[in-house]
Every structure is written in structure tokens, then in C-alpha cells.
Amino acid sequence: MSFDLEKIRGDFPILSTQMNGKPLVFLDSAASSQKPKSVIDTIRKYYEAENANIHRGVYYLSQKATEKYEMARIKTSRFIGAACAKVVIFTRNTTESINLVAQSWGRTNIHEGDEIVLTELEHHSNLVPWQMLAQEKQAVLKFIPLNQDSTLDLSNLDEIITERVKLVALAQMSNVTGTIHDLSAIVRRAREVGAKVLIDGAQGICHLPTNVQKEDFDFYAFSAHKMLGPTGVGILYAKEEILDTMPPWMGGGDMISKVWKDKSTYADLPARLEAGTPNISGVIGFGAALEYLESIGMQEIRNHELELLQYALDRLEDFGGLELYGTNDLSKRGGVISFNFPGVHPHDVGSILDEEGIAIRVGHHCAQPFMDFKGIAGTCRASFYLYNTKEDVDSLLVGLKKVKEIFGRVLKR
């Protein structure tokens, strides 16, 4: 199927709305993507005609809801190349998926003096849970350092990932700079020392063809809302032999086998790690999002973003005077551009662009250690997805010109 941008844009109702009287230019998909009509309709249909709790009722509606919920799990396992559906655990978001690993696997397997390796480019959701675990267990956090172009400096990998390391946890793709990390070298080294590898796929899975078995990830965490699905649905994949050893982390309904007054036995996977009524409509809607992405093709989406990225980087270079972060090697970069306007705070840039109907993200992007590394307060971030166009990039440049005009009055002095 060819990549029909006009048709794709027509599938997203929000893209034809106006912002401050101007056409919406949405360049913040790295924070949360927009949703196609098929996802919105699927959720609406569930509430209008199919709503019931799952795994409990003997009546038709409950069985239908259960079937659709479990079908979304099967679709998810196929989408990421997992061996079977029961290794897909639904949570609320990427953050909860990572906390699940920290609280269940981490508390069981991380002991005093053990080491956890992260990078200096991690999102807070793949940093703070490990800080909390390390404090509790007297474990040690270590960081793979960065090169100036925001790629990982892997030159001392063997000294960083030693026999004491039990876990290496890092993002597939940075939400700040768009850097796509060379995971194969890290996975290989982790295997040599017997460490597990957790990949924060929040930014990766939505942009890159990904196969968790081929790439040999132990844990893979991501969210539905960055890949055209609804908010409130997170996913944790882990290898079956690891999940089998993980104790429950939240107790309650659905995760049990038998319950007495003083003790309980626990259900098999995946129910053991999914206590309580889940986000049923969200998971079913996520199934529709996966179908939509598959109908376009992840490689086609990647190619489209690369074209936009090249176009945008060229135009931003030509604009002059902007500070751009991230590597110029596009094979190591997804459709995210972080930049600064020297002398102008990112929040001021964001407000002026907002008035032009242009939505970008400004600030530290929940990656404060990276901001410290660069010695900056934050960045302006424009991020692309399958529905963005070169005209969106042109609008961004017009907006930036306006910023230059307004602040030029004082910056020249």
C-alpha cells in the first residue's frame, strides 16, 4: 500500500480543527499522538453497545467484552513479535510498566551492592523508579555517558557493564533528541555478564519496526497513547521465563486463584500481574490503533518521518542562529527535533507559536539530567508522526520568524 498522506490526514478529525483561528499545526506527537477516527469509533461503539466488565460475567456482553479485550492482547503480541499473548501485561502507562518491573522483579532480584546501568538521556520514568529501588536495596546506579551529539558513548561499555550489573535499562529512542540507541551492542554485553535488559519503548515502538524476540529484550515497556491509541493503557512485555518468576505487585480481584481469610493463591499469567478492573475500552481502542498502524506499515511511517526530519533539519539550519541538539546521522535518529533560540527561553517560544496555532513542547521534557549535561534550562521540541507534512514544517519556520521579530527588539541591543 502506498503512503497516502492526504488520506491519512483525513482519518484524524482533530487535524481539521482550528487553534486561535488558525489551522492546527500539531508537532507534539512525542508527548501524545492524535487519534484516528477508527480508534475513536471503536471506543464509542464499546460504550454504546458492548460495555460490560470482563473475565467475570456469564452473560453475552461480558463474554464479548472479554473476547475483544483478549483479542487486543493477541494483536499486541503480534505487533511486537512476542512468542505468545500471555507475556503481554496491560498497565496504565509506560511509567507503570517500569514500576511493575522495579517493584516485582527488582525487589526480588536486586540486592545490596548490585548495579543498575542507565543512560544520561533517560526519561524520568526510567530513572526515578530505579533511584527508589536502589535506595531501598542499597544498590548502585551507573550511567552510560553521552557524546556531544547525544549518541551514547559506548567506548567503555565493558567497564560500565560488569559482573555486578543485574539490569541495564534504557530508552529505545530519546524523547528529547530523537536519538535511536545502538541496542544490539548493549544487549550483547549484558548477555556476557548475565544482566537483564529493559527497554523503554515509549518513543520507539510508535516510529520503528520492532521485534522484541529478534532484538532479545528481556523487558519492553510502552504506552498506547503515543501510538494512536487512548491514554491510560500501558504495556509490559517480558520473556515468559522471567514473568513466571515475578511475584504479584498489586493484590486484588482478577489476580487470584483461590482466596481464604488469611491467604491467597495467585492466578497464572497474565492475570497475576493485572489486578482490578482494567481500562477495558482503552485496551479495545488500542487494538484498533494497532490495526491502523499495520494498515499503513511501520517501515512506511519510518520513511515518511525521515523525509520530514531531513527537510526540517535543512530548513532550521538555513534559518540561522538556532542551537540544534542531536545527531545528524539520520539512521540514528527518529522524527524529533530539539532546539533553542539563543537568548529566548523555550516557554516564550512556545507561547508565541501557540498563538499561530502551532503546538510544540517546551521545557525539560522530563529529562533533567540531560539538560544538566547540556547546561540548558530546557529546549523547544518539534516532533513528527505519520500525519505531519512539509507544510507543518514551513509553518513552524514562519512562527520562529515571529519569535525572532519580537525578541529581536531587545536581543540586538
Binding site: H345, E355, H364, Q368, A377, K402, I406
Partner: protein
């Protein structure tokens, strides 16, 4: 005049670019730090008092033009004024931004009116009020 033109007027940009009473102060009587954790704006206020009078005031900080210009305007407005004047000015400034009251500043404080445009951009109101909340903490309600 567009929204950003009315907000980013000469007076705001001038305070941002040439902040008044900027710098740390040794041996201050009152010292207070304020931060907006979500955006990372920071303001640190220093005051010296002579009885009830603010005999010296200064600030340091980092952040967007609105947060820093607002801090500059605050120090400029309150230099040599009394604590009770400061309290009523905080009240009036926050009333303008948070309760949609019309500004009614005396001539001494006329720069502050330029901040009224911020209320049309709700996401930035916390930037404008940061220094004022910090001062409120420093002198107590």
C-alpha cells in the same frame, strides 16, 4: 494588536533584558527561594529591612521572560516601600491575574500593568506570579 504583541511589549522585554536590582545580597534579613517545578522557573529574593521599610531588595533567578521580568518589576516597585505596601501590592497584582480584577496601580507601579496580558495565556500565569508568591512566603501572610 495580537496576543503575543500585547504581552511581549517593550516594557516586559526591557525588564527581562535589563533586570533591575539583580544579584545576590550578603546578610539579608529575609531570603526566600521559589520554583515552578513543572517548568523549572526559579526566583530567589533577598530583602533588607529598616524597621517596616524595605531598604534593600534584590533577586536572582532563571527562567522565561515573564517570570524574570515579573521579578524585576517586583523589586523595582517595592524598593523603599513598607511591608504593608508590599502586602497590598501582592494582593492587587495577584488579583489582576488570578481573579480577573482590573488593575488599578498607582503611578509608582505602572510597569506592572504590562503583565495584565498574561492572563490571556493561562499556561503562563504561574510564571508571572512566581516572584510574588515567593515574596508572600518571605514576608508571611
Amino acid at each position: 494588536m495580537s496576543l503575543s504583541d500585547s504581552l511581549y511589549q517593550e516594557v516586559l522585554l526591557d525588564h527581562y533584558q535589563n533586570p533591575r536590582h539583580h544579584g545576590k545580597m550578603e546578610h539579608s534579613d529575609l531570603h526566600q527561594e521559589g520554583v515552578n517545578p513543572l517548568c523549572g522557573d526559579e526566583v530567589e529574593l533577598f530583602l533588607k529591612l529598616n524597621g517596616d521599610i524595605i531598604s534593600e531588595i534584590s533577586f536572582v533567578g532563571k527562567g522565561c521572560s515573564i517570570s524574570q521580568a515579573s521579578a524585576s518589576m517586583l523589586t523595582d516597585s517595592l524598593y523603599g516601600k513598607t511591608i504593608s505596601e508590599a502586602k497590598s501590592l501582592i494582593h492587587e497584582f495577584k488579583g489582576m491575574l488570578l481573579e480577573d480584577k482590573l488593575p488599578n496601580f498607582s503611578e509608582d507601579y505602572e510597569d506592572l500593568e504590562s503583565m495584565e496580558a498574561v492572563k490571556k495565556i493561562p499556561a503562563r500565569i504561574k510564571c508571572a506570579t512566581l516572584a510574588w508568591n515567593t515574596l508572600e512566603k518571605a514576608i508571611g501572610k
